[in-house]
């Protein structure tokens, strides 16, 4: 893929503006639902940046995994826990904001200084591999990265089982304390939360 440099610059500027403004919206907007949809936009634009870097396979994986799975999962979680609640004002929110903002700005200035002053040993010519990158990734995954590839599959299995165990409701046929059979319709109503009055 080789498109004109001016086109690349325009695409890069638009995509990075969408990424940054979307990310700011994700952390700053009041409504969590808007944040979740903006997060999807950020993921799509990051996939566009990958396309600019000649990585079509990773861009497709980004769209499939992040937009198709992670973002949908987040939206489902918001749907399940979306309760309007008035947060208790915390006492030292001003100083906390100030400290965290200054930490972030310091880190940002350090990172940008490193980005701009370090001399990167760039290879020449750049972006030469082009559409062969998918073949190269497959070769890596089945030769020198075979062990991490298999471990990643075990990790995904463990995460799946762990998520099911953590998120399911305990359905019991007998009440533990009395031994009587449980009315199964009551299970759908949320039982009395155990820890709420222990603030």
């Amino acid at each position: 893929m080789s498109i004109a440099v001016t086109t690349q610059f325009i695409c890069f500027t638009v995509l990075s503006l969408v990424v940054l403004i979307g990310a700011l919206g994700v952390v700053l907007l009041e409504s969590i639902v808007y944040s979740a949809f903006l997060l999807g936009g950020v993921f799509m634009s990051v996939a566009g940046l990958y396309l600019l870097l000649n990585a079509s396979f990773v861009a497709a994986a980004q769209v499939l995994v992040y937009v198709g799975a992670v973002n949908v999962l987040i939206i489902f979680a918001i749907m399940l826990v979306n309760k309007k609640e008035d947060l208790k004002p915390s006492n030292d929110i001003k100083s906390r904001r100030l400290i965290s903002t200054s930490i972030c700005l310091t880190l940002l200035s350090l990172l940008i200084r490193v980005d701009l002053t370090n001399v990167w040993s760039l290879s020449n010519p750049q972006n030469s591999i082009g559409e062969e990158s998918t073949i190269r990734i497959g070769e890596h995954l089945f030769s020198d990265y075979l062990l991490p590839f298999e471990v990643a599959s075990v990790l995904l299995l463990m995460a799946m089982i762990g998520a099911i165990v953590l998120a399911r409701r305990d359905v019991m046929t007998k009440d533990i304390s009395t031994g009587l059979p449980v009315d199964q319709e009551l299970i759908e109503k949320s039982s009395e939360p155990l820890l709420t009055n222990k603030n």
Partner: protein
């Protein structure tokens, strides 16, 4: 600026630095637990942009950065699933998603 032959690598690095810092700010300042998870996803994406930029500009033949990005995406998916499951189970016990009220480990 237009006489360059391609986008400089510094542009990608600066975008990913900004995205990472926005993620950290959101992580430190959010009261809603779902937003904290979203901030973590933003930070992981910033790291991925960095890896992809280096793999395209520095390590051009053996694109190992792209392989690493795929592994990071895998771990991020697992992390999101387990994190949201923990969040659901916390919500079932506390009936809130406020980060300030999650002090079960405090003695």
């Amino acid at each position: 600026m237009m006489n360059l032959e391609s986008i400089p690598i510094q542009a990608f690095l600066i975008v990913s630095s900004l995205l990472f810092c926005i993620g950290i700010w959101g992580l430190l300042n959010s009261r809603n637990a779902v937003r904290v998870l979203m901030s973590i996803e933003l930070m992981l994406n910033a790291v991925n942009i960095n890896l992809m930029a280096f793999s395209s500009y520095v390590d051009n033949n053996l694109i190992q950065g792209q392989v690493f990005t795929i592994f990071v995406i895998t771990v991020a998916a697992a992390e999101a699933a387990v994190g949201l499951a923990i969040l659901l189970s916390l919500y079932r016990n506390r009936v809130t998603v406020d980060m300030e009220s999650f002090n079960l480990l405090k003695w």
